[in-house]
């Protein structure tokens, strides 16, 4: 599929099919994790905890991939691997707080206590992350280099003949499905592990 020929961006515009889709997948699977954490607090069921924890581990993996592809892209277009940008800070905070979730879970041995307390933390972390990723970069006072923020055009304005949309939309669906599939494998593995441990 042809892409618009632009200065600086050149073929790196194709990163849209990877980077953006990975963040979409991460947000999706972390939202699944949030829903199951809420369900767990409402009604303590071990399976909800398994789904919540494995979903956020999968989300963490997609976050790292999204960060890596974004960093690579930034090196070629902005000239640096990392910049002090609200969007990048948000991403770093999201990943750090979910790494903290992993550490918190590993710190506790009792299964029920671990499930309850990590569910509380998960809800807290998700809310803070949403504010910082979704709301903060959209403030007009905040400057950003990131496409679609700080007065920069998003890639949708370059896509005049909709060739990119033709690839982008299926790519989003594909990545979401891939993400759900990986999460479901993680969830089933964890179920078997717990089952064997209980025998």
């Amino acid at each position: 599929m042809p892409v618009p020929a632009l200065e600086i961006l050149h073929e790196t515009i194709r990163n849209l099919y990877f980077h953006v889709c990975m963040w979409f997948s991460m947000m999706f699977i972390l939202t699944v994790s949030l829903v199951y954490s809420l369900k767990y607090l409402n009604k303590p069921n071990e399976d909800y905890d398994i789904i919540a924890s494995q979903s956020s581990y999968t989300g963490l993996m997609f976050g790292v991939l999204g960060l890596a592809t974004g960093s690579l892209w930034a090196r070629y277009t902005w000239g640096a691997w990392w910049t002090n940008d609200p969007k990048l800070n948000g991403a770093a905070i999201a990943l750090l707080s979910y790494f903290a979730y992993v550490v918190l879970r590993n710190a506790m041995d009792d299964e029920q206590k671990r499930a309850r307390i990590s569910a509380v933390y998960n809800i807290f972390a998700y809310a803070m992350m949403m504010v910082f990723i979704m709301i903060y970069p959209r403030l007009k006072e905040v400057d950003s280099l990131h496409p679609g923020n700080g007065g920069n055009p998003g890639f949708n304005q370059y896509d005049l003949d909709s060739h990119m949309r033709l690839v982008f939309y299926p790519a989003v669906i594909g990545w979401l499905l891939l993400c759900s599939w990986i999460a479901s494998i993680n969830i089933r593995t964890e179920r078997i592990k717990r089952h064997l441990a209980n025998q």
Partner: protein, 201 residues
């Protein structure tokens, strides 16, 4: 509640960290650096002050469990920690002004930034310290949990206070104040709703 000795310890901690930063800042005259150092000080003072209120409470907690509901308990604790941390950070601000100074500061805007941020920090630390103490991980776990969640507050606070100390254009402060207010409100609501699940085992 808190003994006089603990108060004295925090006042001394505040005074000495400010003095150390004064010594370290010799030769750095630009206000942006002073501003950055001040917010770092605020984090460490808050961590120290808030963690103190969780130590050695186990025997008291037994009575508290039987007396009050968790939501009333967290409201009281948020209020107490908030006021406590505000007075400590106000002390830090005065000491910092005395020793280091920000130059030509817009005091009202700076104090507003300090008040809104410290209130948020205090609720956030209260909640993450209760999570960490249930997790049994001690101080390291507290730091790991709370630092990433503190960053949004601190970045916003730093932008806002930079406007105040630069003495320049302060017209764009509205957005930052709104973000800080929204964060404070959200953190308080989450504490109120989620704390009952951390209440006793």
């Amino acid at each position: 509640m808190r003994s006089r000795k603990a108060w004295l310890a925090i006042v001394l901690y505040t005074g000495s960290t400010v003095y150390i930063s004064y010594l370290g800042l010799q030769g750095y005259t630009d206000t942006a650096t002073h501003n950055a150092v001040f917010w770092l000080l605020i984090i460490f003072i808050s961590m120290f002050a808030t963690s103190g209120s969780f130590a050695g409470r186990d025997s008291e907690m037994f009575y508290i469990y039987t007396l009050v509901s968790p939501s009333r308990f967290i409201l009281a604790r948020l209020l107490y920690n908030g006021i406590f941390l505000l007075s400590v950070s106000l002390l830090a601000f005065i000491c910092f002004q005395f020793f280091v100074g920000f130059g030509d500061t817009n005091q009202v805007l700076f104090l507003a930034a300090l008040l809104l941020t410290v209130w948020g920090i205090s609720s956030l630390l209260t909640m993450s310290f209760s999570i960490a103490s249930k997790g049994g991980g001690g101080f390291t776990l507290m730091a790991i949990i709370s630092f990433p969640l503190l960053v949004p507050l601190l970045i916003t606070a730093q932008h806002l206070s930079e406007m105040a100390v630069a003495g320049s254009d302060t017209s764009g402060y509205g957005g930052y104040v709104t973000v800080l207010l929204a964060l404070d409100g959200m953190i308080a609501a989450l504490c109120y709703l989620l704390f009952p699940y951390l209440w006793r085992d």
